[in-house]
């Protein structure tokens, strides 16, 4: 009778399924880990517990891809073990505030931030100069490149770092070489080339293969080695 009652109650069935899922998940854990996991789960709200159970099922599912499994596990960890942000004790990271905070702790990042600031400053100044020289209004330029006038204003006020595509469109609209707006644009091209080579299904063209072979020949490592004595 109890079984029939339970099966007629979808919520009870769902809860039993959840318990079974959690039991199976924790079975292989050591006793202290199991205690920690269950303790953390019990402290969560019903809503978060439901998320954890659904993601445990995702992790167990053999059809789940490795990247998805990793993402699901990270989400479970985040749900169970709250890590308040060390900056302000809140949950999650404030994107705007996190850059200066991280840069203060990490010298290479600080260099990168300074470099980005310099790039954006130089870009905004060059864009302003070119717009003045060519007597183009923000509205007109925005229409030419297919974005909004506020976006142009944000770029001029250094509140919006342009994408490479935007720099190319702006250069075309202003009839200048992209390097005049963004001197490092070639670096972005090289990075794009590197990224395209990394694609799994990428097939090198004959010209690219030939260029790569030529470069490899020119850049052979110059290692001096003693020749081995001839065998008697």
């Amino acid at each position: 009778m109890t079984d029939t009652f339970l099966l007629n109650d979808p919520q009870a069935v769902a809860r039993l399924d959840s318990v079974a899922c959690i039991f199976e998940w924790t079975r292989s854990m050591s006793a202290p880990d199991r205690k920690r996991f269950l303790g953390a789960l019990i402290e969560c709200s019903d809503d978060v517990q439901q998320v954890v159970v659904s993601l445990l099922n995702v992790v167990k599912d053999p059809r789940t891809m490795p990247a998805e499994r990793k993402r699901a596990l990270m989400t479970i960890a985040d749900a169970l073990f709250l890590n308040p942000c060390e900056e302000d004790g809140r949950y999650g990271q404030d994107l705007a505030a996190s850059e200066p905070y991280a840069a203060a702790k990490n010298a290479p990042l600080a260099r990168e931030v300074r470099k980005m600031n310099a790039q954006e400053e130089s870009f905004a100044a060059r864009l302003k100069e070119l717009m003045t020289a060519k007597q183009i209004s923000q509205q007109e330029l925005s229409e030419r490149i297919g974005c909004s006038q506020p976006a142009i204003s944000q770029m001029l006020n250094r509140m919006c770092r342009p994408q490479k595509r935007t720099i190319l469109r702006l250069a075309e609209a202003l009839n200048v070489h992209p390097r005049e707006l963004w001197p490092d644009i070639d670096v972005a091209d090289m990075l794009d080339a590197v990224a395209s080579f990394q694609q799994d299904d990428y097939t090198m063209t004959a010209a690219e293969a030939s260029a790569l072979a030529d470069t490899a020949k020119k850049n052979r490592p110059k290692v001096r080695a003693k020749s081995l004595p001839t065998r008697p």
């Binding site: 993601l55 998805e68 308040p84 809140r90 994107l95 980005m116 974005c147 994408q163 990075l191």
Partner: protein, 115 residues
């Protein structure tokens, strides 16, 4: 050329600068500054699309959701950054929905309760 020595660090810093553009976002927008933005069909999730890949990918997707409080501006939660070529499978969407629910819950948790 330290871009190539530490591409991830540089990419993360630049991605963060792109994600910050979300402060100009409104729910009905299909563009944020110079980025395309779409709503995932049938979801309360949105995707900001980056064409730049910074030597790591062919572009990126920033998946986010919005919660109405604190008023008047609300809060935007960035739930995931994915490579543009990574498919938004049913499983990925389930994980993102889970992250969204957790984010909404976390927002209701007051880290400074006045006891």
């Amino acid at each position: 050329m330290h871009h190539l020595v530490m591409p991830r660090l540089a990419a993360r810093a630049q991605l963060r600068r792109q994600a910050i553009k979300l402060r100009f976002w409104q729910q009905t927008d299909t563009r944020v500054a110079d980025l395309d933005c779409i709503r995932v069909t049938g979801e309360t999730l949105f995707v900001l699309q980056l064409a730049d890949g910074y030597g790591l990918a062919d572009g990126f997707r920033i998946v986010f959701c919005e919660v109405p409080n604190p008023e008047p501006d609300g809060t935007i939660y960035v739930l995931a950054v994915m490579r543009a070529d990574e498919p938004l499978t049913a499983t990925t969407l389930e994980i993102l929905r889970g992250r969204e629910r957790i984010a909404r819950q976390r927002l209701s948790v007051d880290p400074y309760p006045e006891l």
